[in-house]
Structure formats: structure tokens, C-alpha cells
């Protein structure tokens, strides 16, 4: 049971999920559509003042990602639950966390694809101009997404197997997301205005700490979440 075997197992789970998604595409299309729809709604709710919309853009993007991503996480166990395939998957030899890592990787790819469409649309809709330093923006986005997807995949392992899962997942996940949301929005907003106060670095450090703590915690706790 080497680390290399675990990694191969995780990759197999990720590829399996992504293949199933690629063949239907129903999930990606629906979730991306919802993300864009949320952005439109924000536009109607905040507009038509261009300045106000530009200031709220980062927050709107993150909420669109949160609301659409939460639908994806329940789906990633749903396929297996419908086919009665979760128990056989757990019966395979090897550590349980490799299943979790596989699911997280597949969900990361999924959410990044959604972001690839939602964010450019948001930049057009909200008249956002990135004043250089796009690399730092992408780093903030990636760090925020890692925290979001890790915890989302983790809580979905429980919520997807409970009653009224659609309600339960956001109830569990969103309060946990508050520090990551705050840090991502503040860092991105600061970077958009040129980071005059030099505050983006502190938020990025918080985001890294958040990711490290919750990736480690959910890796350790996944066994307990999935085995019953």
C-alpha cells in the first residue's frame, strides 16, 4: 500500500467521474448556465449603475460559483448511489482517502471549467478591467476554489446520503465557507484596485492556511464520513 498506489487509485476515480461527466455533459451545461443566470440576476439587482456593479463584481462572481458549485458536489456521489456503486467502490482494497482525493480532483476540474466560462461573462457584464497582475488574481481564485471544492466534496459525502440533501449541503457548507469567501473577495478586490493598501498578501496567507487546515482535516475525517 504505497503512496504511489493510492495516487493511482485517486487518479482512476477522478478519470472515471470525468469520463461519466464528459459523456453526458448534462451537469456541466446546467451548472454553468445556473452560474451565468446568477450573474444576470446580480446585474438586475445591483444595476444599472456601472460603478456599483464593478465594485460588487468579485462578490457576485464568488456567489455565482458557490451557488452553482454546490449543485455539482451532490451530483458527484449521486451517479454512484443511483447505480448502487458506492459500496463496491468502498470494498476495493486501499485507503479510503484515495477515493476522496479522486473525487476532489474531478470536482476541481469541473468547477474550474465552470469558472472558465462564468468569470469572463462576469467581466463583460460588470465591466471589470484587470489592471495587470492577472497571475495573482488566478492564484487567489485557485486557492479559494481548492478550499471550496475540498469542503464541498467532503460534506456532500454525507449530505448526498441523507434526507433532503439539496438543503442540507449548503446549510453545512456555506457557514464553513465564510473565511474563504471573505479572504478571496477581499484579496481579489484589493488586487483589482492595484492593491494600494498592500492588504492582498495577508488575505492570501489566510487563504493558504484555510486550505491547509481543511484539506488535512477532511482527508483525516473522510474515513468516518464514508464508512457508515
Amino acid at each position: 500500500m504505497s503512496l504511489r498506489d493510492d495516487w493511482r487509485r485517486a487518479r482512476a476515480v477522478a478519470l472515471k467521474d470525468l469520463t461519466a461527466e464528459r459523456r453526458s455533459r448534462a451537469g456541466l451545461n446546467a451548472v454553468t448556465f445556473l452560474g451565468v443566470l446568477v450573474l444576470m440576476l446580480f446585474g438586475f439587482a445591483l444595476g444599472p449603475d456601472t460603478e456599483a456593479m464593478r465594485e460588487a463584481a468579485v462578490g457576485a462572481i464568488w456567489l455565482a460559483i458557490l451557488f452553482s458549485g454546490v449543485l455539482a458536489f451532490n451530483r458527484c456521489y449521486q451517479l454512484e448511489l443511483d447505480g448502487g456503486a458506492l459500496e463496491p467502490l468502498l470494498l476495493y482494497p486501499g485507503s479510503r482517502w484515495s477515493i476522496f482525493v479522486g473525487k476532489v480532483l474531478a470536482n476541481l476540474a469541473f468547477v474550474f471549467l465552470v469558472e472558465l466560462i462564468v468569470i469572463p461573462v462576469a467581466m463583460v457584464l460588470f465591466h471589470v478591467v484587470v489592471p495587470g497582475g492577472a497571475l495573482a488574481q488566478i492564484a487567489v481564485l485557485v486557492l479559494g476554489t481548492i478550499g471550496f471544492v475540498t469542503l464541498g466534496t467532503f460534506y456532500a459525502a454525507m449530505s448526498s446520503r441523507s434526507r433532503s440533501r439539496e438543503v442540507l449541503l449548503p446549510l453545512l457548507l456555506f457557514p464553513m465557507m465564510i473565511p474563504a469567501l471573505l479572504a478571496s473577495v477581499q484579496a481579489s478586490t484589493a488586487l483589482l484596485s492595484g492593491d494600494l493598501m498592500r492588504e492582498a498578501g495577508a488575505w492570501v496567507r489566510l487563504l493558504i492556511a484555510y486550505d491547509v487546515i481543511f484539506v488535512a482535516a477532511s482527508l483525516a475525517a473522510f474515513e468516518f464520513a464514508i464508512e457508515v
Partner: protein, 243 residues
């Protein structure tokens, strides 16, 4: 089967243990006395007048809510470590009382905030963290309601409780940074001893009530579970010795 007889034994042990009924009555009486003492002895505040008296319930409720949350975290860890159903029930009992106290803290804070600051709600770090704590308590209790299998419920809620506990300091830090980068909120905690002594007494009195409440909920949860186990066993035995 040995696991199912254990809660029953533990429940009857508890019954013959500390007189929790009297402790609860004593705690409530102590709290009433402490409130009266606080209201009578402390002079009206220079800025807030008699409004300041809300502090004697608001602040102890907040402190005790955090104690309750700490109990949830420790009992959850212990459950995952030892796998005893009793620890899960203790965590659940503490979460129930904790959510009540957090709700009370927020409600009293709003009642205090409106006349003193002119606003019902402020995004001040402690206020906001308490609200997040409240939501996490509620999510924990809702999760328990949505899961029927006892072992699954225990394991899942323990995990949710521990991750929630990890999140509390991070939430507090992030909200504090968020606010202090913009404005500094005045703190009502710079206190004279005439206010501080009644505050301490009230906090201790409320803590007795908290412990008694948790003990009560814990005992009734144990008894309910023991009754469920007996019912299950009776159902299994039917057709055997009974019929």
C-alpha cells in the same frame, strides 16, 4: 448486544448520581439572585444608563455558548476515538443548549445595540462570529434531524462538530481583519469593578444552569435510547420466549 445494554446501565447510574434536578433549581435561583444583585448594586452607566444591565445576561450567555461549543468539540473527538454512543448524545445535548444560548446572545445584543449604537446589527467581529457559530450549531442540529441511522448520525455529526470547531477561530480572525482594515469598533468591555463583579457572578450562575440543562438533555437522550434498544430487543425476541 453488550453495546445496547451499556446506555441503560449508564442512565441508571446517572439517576443515582448527582441530584441534577436540585442543581437546576439552584442554578436558576442563583441566576435570578445574581441578576437582582447586578441591577441593584451597579450604578447607571455614564453613556448607556440602565441599558448596561443587558450585559449581565448578554455576556454570560455568550461565554457559556462558547463553553457549550467546546463541549460539543471535545465530546465529538471522544466519540470518534472511543465510539461510545454516550459521547455522541453528550455532544448533541451541548449543541442544543449552545444554540439556545447563542440565539439569546444575538437577540440581547440586538436589543442592546439599537438604543446604544442606533443599529440592530453591526458587522463587528465578535457579533459576526457569534452569528456564524449560531448557524453552525443549527446546521449541526438539522443534520441530526435528517439522518435516521443512529451510528451514521453519531459519526457524521461528530465530524461536522469538529470541523466547525476548527472553523470558529478562523472565522473570528478573518472577520476581525475585514473590519479593522476599514474601521475600529468601540468595545464595551472596558469595565469598572462595580460592573465586573456582578458580571462574573452572573456568568457562574448561568454556567450552573448550562451544566444542569446539558445533564438533563443528556439523561433524557440516554433513557430514550435505552428504551429504543429495549423495544428493538423485544421485537427480535417476539415469537421466541414471549409468544
Amino acid at each position: 448486544m453488550t453495546a445496547s445494554t451499556m446506555p441503560l446501565a449508564a442512565a441508571s447510574d446517572r439517576r443515582s448520581g448527582l441530584p441534577w434536578g436540585w442543581i437546576a433549581v439552584g442554578g436558576v435561583l442563583a441566576l435570578v439572585a445574581a441578576q437582582v444583585y447586578g441591577v441593584l448594586t451597579s450604578p447607571p452607566d455614564r453613556d448607556m444608563g440602565h441599558l448596561q444591565k443587558i450585559m449581565y445576561l448578554h455576556v454570560p450567555a455568550a461565554w457559556n455558548a462558547f463553553i457549550a461549543f467546546f463541549v460539543v468539540a471535545v465530546a465529538s473527538l471522544r466519540y470518534l476515538w472511543k465510539g461510545r454512543a454516550a459521547d455522541d448524545l453528550l455532544a448533541a445535548s451541548a449543541a442544543e443548549i449552545g444554540s439556545l444560548l447563542t440565539g439569546l446572545t444575538l437577540a440581547l445584543g440586538m436589543l442592546w445595540g439599537k438604543p446604544t449604537w442606533g443599529i440592530w446589527w453591526t458587522w463587528e467581529p465578535r457579533t459576526t462570529s457569534t452569528a456564524v457559530l449560531f448557524f453552525m450549531f443549527l446546521a449541526y442540529l438539522i443534520l441530526r434531524k435528517f439522518v435516521d441511522d443512529p451510528e451514521r448520525r453519531a459519526q457524521w455529526s461528530a465530524v461536522v462538530g469538529i470541523l466547525g470547531a476548527l472553523n470558529v477561530p478562523i472565522v473570528y480572525m478573518s472577520v476581525r481583519w475585514w473590519r479593522t482594515l476599514h474601521q475600529v469598533q468601540g468595545s464595551p468591555m472596558t469595565l469598572d469593578s462595580t460592573y465586573y463583579i456582578p458580571l462574573r457572578i452572573n456568568a457562574v450562575a448561568l454556567m450552573i444552569v448550562l451544566v444542569a440543562f446539558i445533564a438533563h438533555r443528556y439523561r433524557s437522550a440516554m433513557i430514550t435510547q435505552a428504551a429504543d434498544d429495549l423495544e428493538d430487543r423485544a421485537a427480535l425476541m417476539e415469537g421466541g420466549s414471549r409468544a
